[in-house]
């Protein structure tokens, strides 16, 4: 048995497998399939200061090896999370992280400040990369100044581990990563979904209600892997890799590229028990190849 423990800027994970926000609910939805405590960490769905109804249906289109979504951050708001959801999940013996989003820097700060008060939430993932909301979201994550300003503001209000989730819909993701590092981020996670579109040829119209959506699934894995490699070589802070990871082999590739931990997203929809299988598979890889610790393979590919 190899040592699967990793440390992300003070966040101690029993293994490098996290769940990607918006693909695993609050964890409770998956407890029939996996022992939640066998997962390194659970990043719960995107939470905003005020409740959001999200975008209209249809919100999803299937693609070759992936899917598009335009959910638009539907959630009941941070107060509901604190009063109704948190009591149900706070005693799960793994790391519970909250993905925080907003329309304005003030929203992000206020939401992060509320989460800061919750004893059993050791970290947040700041979502400056949602492609499906009109105001905020990705707008902050596509310029170095915008990204840095939100991160700097949240850093003042949030005192635990601050992870910033980056958008791939940019010219240079490394520049954004450097900007959020300088603004006080403890770690970065990447990539969020790639902007895409689906058209129904028979009905001659766009399928998604807002016209565009974010592409996820195995289709985006090579893009994600390249970006993780680039960012890991550009920044000093830990990198969390995600984007189409569907197997232990995929996860190992991200670790080799420089990710200290990984997130599993869309693959949860196909196999709700995939997280634990990936953690076991990483262990088998390390044993088979003679590595003592998962840390020994992070970023070793030239």
């Amino acid at each position: 048995m190899a040592d699967l423990r990793v440390d992300i800027a003070g966040l101690h994970l029993k293994n490098p497998v996290l769940t990607a926000s918006g693909t695993f609910g609050y964890g409770l939805e998956f407890q029939d399939f996996v022992n939640l405590e066998d997962i390194g960490g659970i990043i719960v769905k995107g939470t905003t200061l005020a409740p959001r109804q999200g975008n209209a249906y249809p919100r999803m289109a299937e693609t070759a090896s992936g899917m598009l979504n335009c959910v638009g951050l539907q959630n009941k708001g941070v107060d509901y999370f604190c009063s109704h959801i948190y009591p149900q999940i706070k005693d799960i013996q793994t790391n519970i992280l909250v993905n925080v989003s907003g329309n304005s820097p003030e929203d992000y700060v206020e939401c992060a400040a509320r989460i800061n008060e919750l004893e059993h939430i050791p970290a947040i993932e700041l979502n400056i990369s949602c492609p499906n909301v009109k105001h905020g979201g990705m707008a902050f994550g596509t310029t170095t100044q915008g990204a840095a300003s939100v991160v700097r503001a949240v850093r003042q209000a949030y005192h635990k581990t601050l992870i910033v989730k980056l958008s791939p819909n940019v010219t240079s993701i490394s520049d954004i990563a450097l900007a959020v590092q300088d603004a006080g981020a403890d770690a970065v996670s990447l990539i969020n979904t790639l902007m895409g579109m689906a058209i129904d040829a028979e009905k001659r119209r766009r399928i998604l209600s807002i016209g565009t959506g974010g592409l996820s699934g195995p289709a985006i894995k090579p893009v994600a892997l390249r970006m993780v490699y680039e960012v890991a070589h550009a920044v000093q802070i830990p990198v969390i890799g995600l984007g189409g990871i569907s197997s232990a082999k995929d996860a190992v590739e991200f670790l080799l590229a420089g990710a200290s931990a990984i997130e599993i997203g869309t693959a949860n929809f196909l196999d709700p028990a995939i997280t634990v299988k990936v953690a076991q598979g990483i262990n088998e890889y390390l044993d088979r190849c003679g590595f003592q610790s998962v840390k020994d393979i992070v970023g070793i590919v030239e």
């Binding site: 918006g22 939805e29 029939d32 109804q53 999803m60 959910v71 929809f269 709700p272």
Partner: protein, 259 residues
Amino acid sequence: MKKHILDLILTRVACLHERYVLLQATDPAAPLPEMMPGQFAQIRVDGNKDTFLRRPISIHNVDRRSNEVWFLVQIVGEGTRALSRLQAGDKFNVILPLGNGFTLPASSDEKVLLVGGGVGVAPLLYMGARMRELGVEPTFLLGARSQSDLLQQKAFRALGRVFFTTEDGTAGERGFVTQHSLLQNERFSRICVCGPKPMMIAVARYAKSVSTPCEVSLENMMACGLGACLCCVEDTVEGNVCVCTEGPVFNINQLKWQI
């Protein structure tokens, strides 16, 4: 109800019609879990490059003696076409049971009408079977385009009274289910509906006009089926809710349909 991921073995694949296939499957390892009428399964489609997600298919019947679950599949796209090509003996992976299901009769005094259209008849067979176990004879009102589209007629007749409508008049009364004389002649304590949305809206409108409680089963496009992705939402009096977990069965009073 606990959800399970199971590898089932197909015991029988029957082509009912050029567009419909009946899959009967068993779990060779254990008794199948408890399932409610109106619930569904997420079936994995293997070896098809054009599909990615599982396909939500309603539970058509559960046969406890043979430990079988049945799925009635309409071939609408690449995923369901791939499912239709499966053969007896093949293994296929399902997650079940998912969703809430229809309300079962609380007493034998209830008189329940089950209305189905097209492949929407699928969950009504299991609903009828469970009603019979509770001592309530179901009444079925089943609609289709033509006689050859009326599926599983013998199985429905074995459970209760069955009335048909066809659009071309080749079986039962000509027209849509809402035009059937049964609705003029009899009243029911509840109506459960599954079929194309325009049909469900028409039946909901009828039910409302005669003040009869009515449940409809929605089939919004889904990704996960587990309440995680928030893709299959329906706009309800409580806002956007997941059809996969809060439904697929809704009382019409919960919906914002113009009825």
